[in-house]
């Protein structure tokens, strides 16, 4: 436990001693600001009764942040250590491979949660100035945040795997980005097949992160989605662990 916490602290430290943490935070703030502006414009243009968070998802800024920020947050986890050689000092200290993988993942997750905190500011803003207090009630806020965390877990675990596969930061970021975009684009399959019932529709709706997020934003916490994210994260973390261990049998 001590080594795990030490490593998580070091992960967070490395982001805020260097520029990445601040740049990502600033970038996300900028995009959230843009989304607030466009939301206001939309709301002033026409009335609708969609929950605020669902409208926010429809502005696509959420997905932009998710797709762009996660590769940057995770690319350093393993690739930088391998590149600079500190991977060797790390793995020759009395630490377990699993501990290292979990610590790197947790570090990235803490950052992911941090970058989404400003979203609550946006919610409060609308709640304060909007006439209808139900646009952003506590329940939908909580379920949205749960969705963000779950989706973050999936994306961070994919990013960790990408970073463990290579010693080059750019390659790590690109693999993570490609994986992330693929998962995102897969969601669009549901829109094509939603009319015809069958196993395909069933399958696509299980893996559609857009549909999942929309549910969470409406305040619906579906256990199927919960299971999907937790198990997918576990799979990617397991693959990361095996990649880290692979130096033993190569």
């Amino acid at each position: 436990m001590q080594t795990y916490l030490t490593l998580v602290r070091r992960e967070l430290g490395s982001h805020f001693v260097s520029w990445t943490g601040y740049v990502v935070l600033a970038g996300v703030l900028f995009l959230l600001g843009l989304s607030t502006a466009s939301l206001l414009q939309e709301m002033n243009a026409q009335e609708n009764d969609m929950p605020l968070m669902e409208q926010f998802l429809d502005t696509y800024y959420f997905w932009l942040v998710l797709l762009l920020a996660t590769p940057i947050l995770t690319m350093r986890t393993f690739a930088l250590e391998k590149f600079s050689g500190t991977f060797e000092t790390l793995m020759t200290a009395p630490v377990g491979d699993l501990e290292v993988v979990l610590a790197k993942f947790s570090g990235a997750m803490v950052l992911h949660v941090l970058i989404w905190v400003p979203l609550f500011g946006q919610m409060l803003l609308f709640r304060h100035y909007g006439n209808d207090p139900t646009v952003a009630d506590t329940g939908t806020a909580a379920s949205t945040f749960l969705g963000i965390v779950l989706l973050g877990m999936l994306y961070m675990s994919m990013g960790c795997l990408a970073s463990a596969l290579t010693r080059n930061l750019n390659t790590a970021a690109m693999i993570a980005f490609a994986l992330g975009v693929s998962v995102f684009v897969l969601s669009y399959l549901t829109f094509g097949t939603s009319l015809q019932p069958g196993w395909r529709t069933e399958l696509y709706s299980h893996i559609s992160i857009i549909e999942h997020m929309r549910d969470f934003a409406r305040g619906v916490v579906d256990t199927r989605a919960l299971v999907f994210y937790l198990s997918a994260t576990a799979v990617f973390l397991f693959l990361t662990l095996k990649t880290v261990e692979s130096r033993r049998w190569r």
Binding site: Q2, T3, T6, L7, R10, G13, S14, V17, S18, S84, G85, T86, F87, E88, T89, L90, M91, T92, A93, P94, V95, G96, R247, R248, R250
Partner: protein, 315 residues
């Protein structure tokens, strides 16, 4: 302290270490000497539990490095090649982080960080960012990291690589001091370095151990094989005859040097010191003698000799 038996390490496509066996006793400073690609780093990486051996057994303090890796790692302080550090951290912060990672309690890690900083003369830079330090200081940070959890065994991979002569001297002195209280295994491709710091040397070539001896004995071998250079002002023909009539000389070369002098490179028979002979000859004939030196064998020569000897023994 270290027992290595029939260690072999194969990477995809090539064998880095072949059937290596050696032991290192408690309190020894042993040098792994070999050219680049001889397998030094591979052996150290296996000893430090970074990767496993393909076959053979490796024990540190009686513990197997593969099955009891965690216990072994606690007893080892390892500084890898090129001394990788988290350069964005400050010295004291880094050492405390490493101490915590190695399982020391918070107060203990603070205490140990201060002790090793003193030991490695880092106290005055304790709050500097590692990236801003000179290479010599960075090397000492790496050493301090290896020491911070009070390991019984210290493994150093090329500890003086890339340093300037003053820094090299400082690091060597530090290693020597550490040797009084620790067992040390270090790798190097520089012979004088190993000679100066180590109590025993293992010469490694193409993944095999070719010689294991004390530096004194290696030195003796060298001295016996060393050539003698003499600059003498004498008629070339007379000098040639003189060399040919000296039975102790195996081979001789002469080249014109500055002034009227001839520069002679003489190879003696094994176990003979030619220098008194030459001096006697020069004084008897009244030839001015302005230089008389014995060349030391370079590491390359030793390798050539040892590898050659190895080949002769094989059939």
């Amino acid at each position: 302290m270290i027992e290595v038996a029939n260690l072999t390490k194969r990477y995809a496509g090539h064998t880095a270490v072949t059937d290596v066996s050696f032991t290192v006793g408690r309190g020894e400073i042993v040098g792994l000497l070999g050219p680049n690609g001889a397998g030094k780093s591979t052996i150290l990486r296996i000893l430090s539990c970074f990767m496993p051996a393909t076959s053979g057994t490796v024990r540190v303090a009686g513990l197997d490095v593969f099955t009891q890796a965690d216990e072994v790692r606690r007893r080892i302080g390892y500084m890898p090649e090129n001394n990788p550090l988290h350069k964005e951290m400050r010295v004291r912060e880094y050492l405390k982080f490493r101490a915590r990672l190695k399982g020391l309690s918070r107060p203990r890690s603070r205490e140990r960080a201060d002790v090793v900083m003193q030991q490695c003369a880092l106290t005055e830079v304790s709050h500097r960012i590692i990236a801003h330090l000179s290479k010599g200081y960075q090397q000492r940070v790496g050493l301090a990291d290896a020491l911070v959890h009070e390991p019984e065994l210290i493994l150093l991979d090329e500890p003086t690589q890339g340093l300037d002569p003053n820094q090299i001297r400082a690091v060597r002195q530090l290693v020597k001091d550490l040797g009084k209280s620790h067992t040390i295994l270090l790798s190097s491709h520089i012979l004088p370095e190993v000679e100066m710091t180590c109590t025993r040397v293992l010469i490694l070539h193409h993944g095999r151990i070719l010689a294991a001896d004390t530096p004194e004995n290696l030195q003796k071998d060298q001295d016996e094989a060393g050539q003698v250079v003499a600059e003498i002002a004498a008629p070339r023909e007379e000098l040639r005859l003189a060399w040919e009539h000296t039975p102790e000389i195996q081979r001789h070369d002469m080249a014109a040097a500055e002034g009227n002098y001839l520069r002679c490179t003489l190879t003696p028979r094994p176990g003979v010191d030619l220098r008194p002979h030459i001096h006697k000859l020069a004084t008897e004939r009244g030839w001015p003698l302005r230089e008389l030196t014995r060349t030391r064998l370079t590491l390359e020569d030793i390798f050539v000799r040892v590898t050659h000897a190895g080949r002769e023994e094989e059939p």
